[in-house]
């Protein structure tokens, strides 16, 4: 019994220590911009920042969109054009970066195909409405294995489950009337 109590106390102490050290372990990364591009959206100058450069398809990063003079008196939307489909996506409102609240941005977002992406901005502010785009944002080939191989590996549990059901189906054929 005493041994059990000692064990439980040690376990609780370990959990306590883990919990106490958890905040630094779970601290969120600061937004670290390593490359910027300039966009002119009507009367507004805009700095577009990237936390990784050069960009690679499917690799996630932080984007920041900083209008000259700050975001306080402005609003706007942002739309991307995927080079693979050539279609412009639905415009989304420019919102604050969740880990850098004084600027607009996207957190840990990936661009999922290689080629020249297009970012289109519409900004409303004290000088009226302005539109502009970053017309050629080069995104290199995706690293890692080809997607077909990755997906093949990923659906193995499903294939196994289907295989099991087929075997079970055959073995129960005479006993299930349905």
């Amino acid at each position: 019994m005493r041994k059990f109590r000692d064990g439980a106390a040690a376990l609780l102490a370990t959990i306590g220590l883990l919990a106490a050290s958890a905040p630094p372990a779970s601290a969120y990364e600061p937004v670290n911009i390593v490359h910027t591009e300039r966009v002119q959206a009507g009367p507004y100058g805009l700095t577009v920042g990237f936390s990784t450069w050069p960009l690679k398809a499917m690799q996630s990063l932080d984007f920041t969109f900083i209008p000259d003079g700050g975001i306080a008196d402005k609003s706007g939307t942002f739309a991307t054009t995927n080079p693979e489909t050539g279609r412009q996506g639905r415009p989304n409102p420019l919102t604050r970066h969740p880990r850098k609240l004084d600027v607009w941005g996207l957190d840990i977002r990936a661009l999922d195909s290689q080629g020249d992406w297009k970012f289109r901005f519409v900004i409303d502010g004290p000088a009226g409405r302005g539109e502009g785009e970053l017309s050629k944002l080069p995104v290199l080939e995706q690293p890692g294995p080809p997607m077909a191989l990755s997906w093949s590996i990923s659906v193995l549990p499903l294939a196994g489950l289907i295989g099991f059901l087929v075997v079970a189906w055959r073995r129960t054929r005479t006993r299930v009337a349905g």
């Binding site: 969120y28 549990p157 349905g178």
Partner: protein, 376 residues
């Protein structure tokens, strides 16, 4: 995998049967913890954002799978020990014991499937870790390793359904089967998002969700063997849907506040995961029950009845989805032609889902001991 015939009928077997609810409940609890973790995690990414490996929702996800995996391992090892010692192995504990690796282990088939899912979860977890080292924390649900992880959990959940089905002579076995079907269906709703990569005119996610919903509610009815199984599974799923509609935003926001992170701008009041599930499932299940009841009035339902009930339920579920999207997201309602086309494709996949669900329900019934001559 060799089928072995366990000895039957003794005091020891009765004792093991009377305690069979214990590991089964643990397994269900494990899958529920995983489901809570996933629902919370999806909401966290939508409403708050940043990801690290050690978030609380992630901890729930991993802990649930660990619980389910360890319980399965313990049951397999104790069954192996019992069989080696010549003690009887009761099939109420997870179904018939099968030989694994020659006959090194004797594993009740339900726990074997559940445990295999747990082991696969570990492997896909490692692959996910490598994936993140290559691509960063992309926080998308439909990356290949994420879908592999989710499918592994689904395998565990299928095993859980089988474990409870083996005890269908007990009230806890029937309730547990319907509850674990509801857990499996809730969890699968996210896996269906993997279909969004398929480029078709009619939403593949809607059709995938329709197929799975029909398959699992008709499976509930096929397993139950009398009216009520489809409705029971649908009611339990809808209860979870209602609970998680409240819970997941609350948990995501409370956790954000506890770790000092703000909510994203423009957070809407739509809970992400519950809104993926059909809101009309109880109505669709009632219709399926009705079709099966009418078909089987003069005896057991004919073999095509499951498929027909599935087609009716599939038509309703897929046809209602555009209305659900408009209601929840304030988007423009699709045209009548598009809604009818979606409902029609839903009926075709519902037909297949109903056919399979009815048959799988019959197979599930066979997991329970001493009923193997019965038909549904």
């Amino acid at each position: 995998m060799d089928l072995t015939v366990p000895p039957t009928g003794s005091v020891a077997a009765t004792r093991s049967a009377s305690r069979a609810w214990l590991p089964a409940s643990g397994l269900l609890a494990g899958t529920l913890v995983t489901l809570v973790g996933l629902t919370w995690d999806v909401e966290w990414h939508d409403d708050v954002g940043p990801d690290t490996f050690f978030t609380l929702p992630h901890l729930f996800l991993y802990t649930g799978s660990a619980i389910a995996g360890l319980i399965s391992l313990v049951v397999v090892l104790s069954t192996t020990a019992a069989q080696r010692a010549g003690r009887p192995v009761d099939e109420v504990v997870g179904g018939k014991a099968v030989g694994v690796f020659g006959r090194t282990f004797a594993a009740p088939v339900g726990y074997l499937i559940a445990g295999t899912g747990g082991a696969l979860f570990l492997l896909y977890g490692l692959w996910d870790l490598w994936w993140h080292s290559l691509y960063g924390f992309d926080a998308v649900i439909d990356s290949p390793p994420h879908i592999g992880l989710l499918l592994s959990v689904m395998v565990t959940m299928v095993g859980t359904v089988m474990v409870f089905a083996a005890a269908r002579d007990h009230r806890w076995g029937v309730f547990g089967t319907l509850a674990s079907i509801a857990v499996l269906l809730s969890f699968s709703s996210v896996t269906v998002l993997g279909l969004s990569a398929v480029d078709t005119e009619i939403s593949p996610v809607t059709i995938g969700m329709t197929f799975l919903s029909v398959l699992l509610v008709v499976l509930g009815r096929g397993f139950f063997g009398r009216p009520g199984g489809a409705l029971g599974a649908a009611v339990l799923l809808s209860a979870w849907q209602a609970f998680s509609w409240w819970f997941s935003p609350w948990a995501a926001h409370a956790y954000a506040s506890a770790v000092g992170l703000p909510l994203r701008d423009n957070v809407d009041d739509v809970a992400s995961m519950p809104s993926l599930m059909p809101a009309c499932l109880i109505g669709a299940a009632l219709l399926a029950e009705l079709v099966l009841w009418v078909s089987g009035r003069n005896g057991s339902a004919p073999r095509w009845a499951g498929a027909l009930s599935g087609a009716v339920a599939g038509f309703v579920i897929a046809g209602a989805q555009p209305f659900q999207d408009t209601w929840l997201y304030d988007v423009r309602l699709a045209g009548a032609g598009e809604i009818l086309a979606t409902a029609g494709v839903g009926a075709v996949f519902g037909l297949l889902g109903g056919f399979l669900g009815w048959r799988f329900g019959g197979m599930l019934r066979l997991l329970a001991p001493r009923r193997d001559k019965e038909t549904v």
